[in-house]
Amino acid sequence: MSTPDPYAGERLKLSPFHPRQQALNIRDAWTSWNGYKFAEHYYEAEYEYFCVRNLCATYDISPMQKYQIQGPDAQTLLNRMVTRDVAKVGLNRVAYCVWCTDAGRVIDDGTIFRLAADRFLLTCGSPCTAWLERSAYGFAEVEVKDLSDALAALSLQGPTACAVLKKLGLDGIDAVKPFDIRHFSLHGTALMVSRTGFTGDLGYELWIEPDRALELWDALYAAGAHYGIHPYGETATNMARLEAGFIMPGMEFNEALKTVHFEHDQTPFELNLGWLVDFNKPHFSGRRALLEEKRRGPKYTLTKLDVEGNRPAEGGSRIYGNKRCTKAVGYVTSAMWSPAAKANIALAMIRTEHRQGALWAEIYYEKELRQYSRVAKCTPLRKPFWAPPRARATPPPDY
């Protein structure tokens, strides 16, 4: 008889795709996400990044939190919770959303899938159970169900993604528009596909019951064999999303329910997500505060920067309004050398009133254990760092 595991409750859970991912994780580079064992990278982050940009690659989003919100009050509940107008999200469409505290500070971002007039799927990076429970209180006719462990999900991103799904036999996949949802059947099992992702590229997310996850994986990898399909981990995801200009909790924003200090969290306007805030809605949680914020203007604004030189202005670098670096006006939240944009890019929170002036980043770096710093001029960008037409094209280019 074996002795019981004294740490059983502490061990990381394994994703439904784990057996296959384990076999491919030749570096044994694991981290965790929402209690799941999660690949930081499989072989090498940059290699995986190039797979995403040039071929196609899979990213395990099973650990994401998924909630089904169903009932006659479902739309009302969500419309009160998020800043966007959910009424405008059509059947089988997905909308990117944020939701805020009463003070208009962002709690989290995520996507809402409308699966029926009265049924939605809400997905987000961190557990949202408590906030959903609060949001649902007082609505008689709605049921919130946590499907996080009951739904496996795999993201397939990159230029050959559509071709692979076609090969897999998903007829009509090339007609699926960005933010569309289409329902297929894979070997008799329901497979939901949404044209969504976190890379800014052509890509899809595949949703299936956990018991059939490995079947999906095997079929997908068989179909993708000649299209360069690879798995990619968290580091490569972070690179791709930064090029796409997407925000990340713990980097661009702090989840408002987890901050202690006043205004150490952000408003949608500060995150440049004002377009998600629909004041035509008579009410949503945080509306009064956000209206006031809009009137006053955000204190900071998330700004895309093109940084001179090729040294990444690693997260945390200060941004100054003068070259002598005496007038601090902000800080870098994420930065990298972008192979796709062929530019040294950064996202930075800049005091709004200083966004128009000259900006300088003080960059610290190391060369063979010697510490150096330099001051680099930064140019704010209005356009995305990188936005390939294929990401929006329907049908996408074939391979």
């Binding site: 009463d102 609060r134 949680s285």
Partner: protein, 514 residues
């Protein structure tokens, strides 16, 4: 022309006070009351043919400013010369009598200590009294008016003098038990003097923070906490308020239950439109002022869909579980309490503070108190018309009766509670059972259902530090305005709190008329 300037939901005394002030200022006012008659917790209750009482049975600190502003005397309201002494009953019949500054029936040390206690509490009460009739400052509004009020509170406290100021800070949050133990030795005296710090709240002698504020709140007026019963009983107050409001032009409709407060929405945001009655009728108004408790107002009448999620959660978490039951007895004659010539006061039946504490302990675990403690009044002694000739009404506030009884309330539990309360009285008035024509016991649940008050709570919302002053009922609704433009609160759930004071109704009207 069916659009009103203000609709007041609920004709409790606060709704009536608010209505009268608004009407006095020329507003077209409609008061809607669900019950067949106005009054709320102070409404007349004929619990047996010919026998009348009301749930709230005496008046302690009704605002003299309100009475003056609304000229209530002209409408028949007076408490002058009707003050009730407080009687601390002892099983041996040697009762103690507290009547304002005078105290009889205790030892010389206690009598001397009482003088000091009374004087000191009086000074504290004087210092605080202006603030019960003022809108509290916003916690984070930062307007000049807010800071001025804050400043004035601080200034007034400091002006008491160094000694009093230090003592005030020391005793303000003391449990009643500590406050009493450090001054007095007589067990009944301690129980009697604690009483007004405890009754109505989920608070026992050993509970910190709440007792002294409640005592001082109740000493706000000139009577310094002395109670009285107006002519006609407490409903006499309601009658005069109704007359005052109507004579100023307010319309009062009873048996008109409001089902929803109507909120309109456009790209300009939300705004109150009016109300919808249970019968479907819709009535429009520029503003709606709710005297209904905050939980019902926001969660039932407005609906969460119009409220922010954090705000909703704070309303939902408000502590509103009532702790007081009411015993009403129709008696064939005047009951005889051993050693008492006339039962004409607020009679406190609590042999010591432990008795109060133990009754609380039972209730806090969801049990019926094994030995309830109580305050008894004979309303029919103050006004003979409240009972048939020669007969009498006994009204008792029984502590502590849990709103959430383990296993839930039912007839049997209510009867058990009634019998226990009568047994407790019989210890002091041994022949009482022979005189009972009819008896009813109202549990907090009965009060909740019958009077439409969440939890059957005395103050609508527990009167406790976290739900007082600028936190009452919660921030963003603590200045009578609410997050919904055009919707106001004016009931006991607002600053300063419950009891028959008229203060919340007065303050809300001032805020609306600003």
């Amino acid at each position: 022309m069916d659009r009103y300037d203000s609709i007041i939901v609920g004709a409790g005394h606060n709704g009536l006070v608010c209505a009268a002030y608004l009407a006095r200022n020329g507003q077209r006012v409609l008061v809607l009351e669900a019950a067949p008659a106005p009054g709320g917790l102070a409404a007349d209750r004929e619990f047996h043919p010919g026998f009348h009482t009301s749930i709230a049975h005496s008046i302690g600190h009704f605002s003299s400013k309100v009475a003056g502003d609304l000229n209530l005397a002209a409408h028949g309201f007076t408490t002058a010369k009707r003050r009730l002494p407080v009687l601390g009953l002892r099983l041996n019949g040697e009762h103690l009598v507290v009547d304002g500054d005078s105290l009889a029936g205790v030892g010389a040390d206690d009598a001397a200590a009482y003088k000091n206690h009374r004087a000191r509490m009086g000074r504290f009460a004087t210092t605080l009294s202006p603030f019960w009739l003022k809108t509290m400052p916003r916690i984070s509004g930062g307007s000049l008016a807010d800071w001025t009020t804050f400043g004035r509170i601080g200034f007034n406290l400091r002006r008491m003098g160094r000694e009093d100021f230090r003592e005030f800070l020391r005793v303000a949050s003391l449990p009643a038990r500590d406050l009493m133990d450090e001054q007095f030795s007589d067990a009944v005296l301690k129980a009697v003097l604690s009483w007004d710090g405890l009754i109505g709240s989920k608070l026992a002698p050993r509970s910190p923070n709440g007792a002294v504020p409640a005592m001082l709140y109740r000493m706000a007026e000139a009577a310094r906490g002395g109670h009285s019963i107006p002519s006609g009983g407490v409903p006499g107050l309601i009658q005069s308020l109704q007359r005052a409001a109507e004579s100023l032009g307010a319309e009062i409709r009873c048996a008109a239950e409001v089902r929803r407060i109507l909120v309109g929405g456009s790209s300009a945001g939300l705004a109150v439109k009016g109300v919808q009655l249970a019968n479907g009728e819709q009535i429009e108004a520029a503003r709606v002022v709710s005297a209904v408790d905050p939980k019902r107002t926001f969660l039932d009448l407005v609906g969460v869909r119009y409220l922010d999620i954090g705000f909703t959660n704070r309303i939902r978490r408000l502590r509103c579980d009532g702790t007081v039951g009411k015993l009403h007895l129709a008696l064939s004659g005047l009951p005889e309490f051993s050693g008492l010539p006339q039962p004409n006061g607020r009679m406190i039946l609590a042999p010591d503070m432990d008795a109060i504490e133990f009754a609380f302990d039972d209730a806090k675990h969801g049990e019926l108190p094994v030995h309830p403690v109580m305050e008894i009044l004979m309303p029919s002694l103050a006004d003979a018309s409240l009972a048939p000739p020669g007969q009498h009404v006994l009204s008792a506030q029984v502590l502590y009766v849990p709103y959430r009884l383990k296993g839930g309330w039912n007839d049997a539990a209510g009867e058990r509670m009634r019998e226990r309360a009568i047994d407790a009285i019989a210890q002091y008035a041994p022949r009482i059972r022979e005189q009972i024509i009819h008896g009813e016991f109202l549990t907090p649940e009965d009060v909740a259902l019958g009077c439409r008050v969440t939890g059957g709570h005395w103050h609508h919302v527990e009167f406790a530090l976290d739900q007082m002053l600028m936190m009452r009922p919660t921030y963003e609704a603590a200045q009578y305005q609410t997050p919904i433009p055009g919707l106001y609160l004016c009931g006991a759930g607002c600053h300063p709190g419950g009891d028959l004071t008229g203060a919340p109704g007065h303050n809300a009207a001032q805020e609306i008329l600003r």
